[in-house]
């Protein structure tokens, strides 16, 4: 069987697989659908359904624009107000889930703010969330096709059975713009007012790119908000503008805390 390997600039196709741009021996994440939409809250909440065109559980991700700071795009499942006042009720919480028919976005606002319009950008991957194979769809396109083992690239029609096909987009990581950093936030002002810290990383792409951030200590993807098991964990978040990736942390504790994080900036465009 022929193998397609693509090395990074300056690299070799004999490099470790993780360091290759792609290899036909591994499946890629395939972006089946992406797009922008908006929803306006009524009475402080809103629900938006977007058709899940695949008919099965698929992997997905969403970025939401802050309606009050419209240059800022936050990742989904998130409190996007960066509020440090314990007693204020200005929260803007956005959560999501997928059914086999719809991608569902739900917004809840605090009582102290009026109704808002939220713009969002979604990505639905053709990959199931467990990357399992399947049948019944006819959604493979493009001239360069690599099928999963046991499937025929020339005749296969279901994206779940493909490792790659050129009719759809794949994520493109900018390794030069990606990296790691840390953020230290000093102790809270008092028990009613927390402290906000941030680190800005310039990308200067001129558009808002897809970015992912993880906590270096536990590898888990940001955001990490709203679940204070002991009430002292840093509340970790980030937003993206057309020039910067900004990592934020709110410290509810009465002592200084530091988070080490890693970030990947993609050349794929939110807006």
């Amino acid at each position: 069987m022929a193998i397609l390997k693509v090395a990074k600039p300056g690299g070799s196709i004999d490099d470790a697989e993780k360091n290759l741009v792609m290899t036909s021996e591994r499946s890629c994440m395939i972006e089946f659908a992406s797009g922008s939409d908006s929803v306006t809250t009524s009475g402080g909440s809103a629900t938006k359904n977007i058709s899940n065109q695949l008919g099965y559980f698929a992997d997905y991700f969403i970025f939401v624009r802050d309606p009050d700071n419209t240059d800022r795009w936050f990742p989904i499942n998130n409190e996007i107000s960066l509020n440090v006042d314990v007693f204020s009720d200005v929260g803007k919480y956005v959560e999501s889930h997928l059914t086999t028919s719809n991608l569902v976005l739900r917004i809840y606002q605090g009582s102290e703010i009026g109704d808002k319009t939220y713009n969002f950008f979604y990505i639905i991957h053709a990959n199931r969330p467990d990357n399992a194979v399947g049948t019944g769809n006819s959604n493979v396109s493009g001239k360069l096709r690599i099928a999963k083992d046991g499937y025929n690239a020339e005749t296969e029609t279901d994206a779940r059975n493909m490792k790659f096909f050129s009719g759809k987009n794949v994520p493109k990581v900018d390794v030069n713009l990606s990296g790691n950093n840390s953020l230290t936030v000093s102790a809270r002002v008092d028990e009613f007012t927390y402290r906000l810290g941030s680190v800005a990383i310039n990308h200067n792409l001129g558009y808002v790119p897809v970015c992912y951030v993880v906590d270096s200590s536990n590898g888990a993807m940001f955001p990490a908000v709203g679940i204070p098991r002991d009430g002292e964990d840093l509340i970790l978040n980030y937003y993206i503008t057309s020039t910067q990736l900004v990592i934020t942390a709110i410290n509810p504790a009465d002592f200084s805390q530091t988070v080490n994080f890693k970030y990947k900036i993609l050349r794929d465009k939110i807006i």
């Binding site: 990074k8 959560e95 992912y212 590898g219």
Partner: protein, 143 residues
């Protein structure tokens, strides 16, 4: 150095420096899947936490997409996720309550842990076993 570039449908300039116009571009690595799967796990009656542990043994922290399936809904899991789904629970001093399910993710250089708990833990436990299904795609790509 030769390059492999594939434009998105509708794009015509193969020399473009706007990388977002390309479906694939050999200067920009894409995510390569190392392993994947799904399995059931639960929060047992009388408890407030359950998890699925998956061993990957890559030796580094990889990029991971994880999700939890509950009540015919799929929830993408970041560090912590409030699901909006509630289950009957018993609180130490409030008695019977409905408590929101929380999903969480931890990744190490050898394992990923996809967990579920309730918002009111540790002061509350679920009244009935909560059955869930974890899904995971673990990339070869180091984060």
């Amino acid at each position: 150095m030769s390059k492999l570039k594939i434009l998105k449908y509708g794009e015509t300039d193969i020399e473009s420096t706007d990388i977002w116009r390309f479906a694939f571009h050999s200067d920009y690595p894409t995510f390569k899947i190392a392993t994947n799967g799904n399995d059931t796990f639960s929060i047992a009656s009388g408890n407030n936490f359950g998890e699925k542990v998956v061993t990957h043994n890559l030796g580094y922290i990889p990029f991971v997409f994880a999700a939890v399936e509950y009540n015919s809904k799929l929830f993408l899991v970041t560090r912590y996720v409030l699901s909006g789904e509630t289950v009957p629970a018993t609180h130490d001093w409030l008695g019977d309550i409905d408590s929101e399910l929380i999903f969480e993710l931890v990744i190490t250089s050898t394992q990923i842990k996809i967990g579920a708990s309730i918002f009111d833990s540790p002061d509350a436990t679920v009244n009935n076993t909560v059955n869930l299904r974890a899904h995971w795609i673990i990339m070869l790509d180091e984060f």
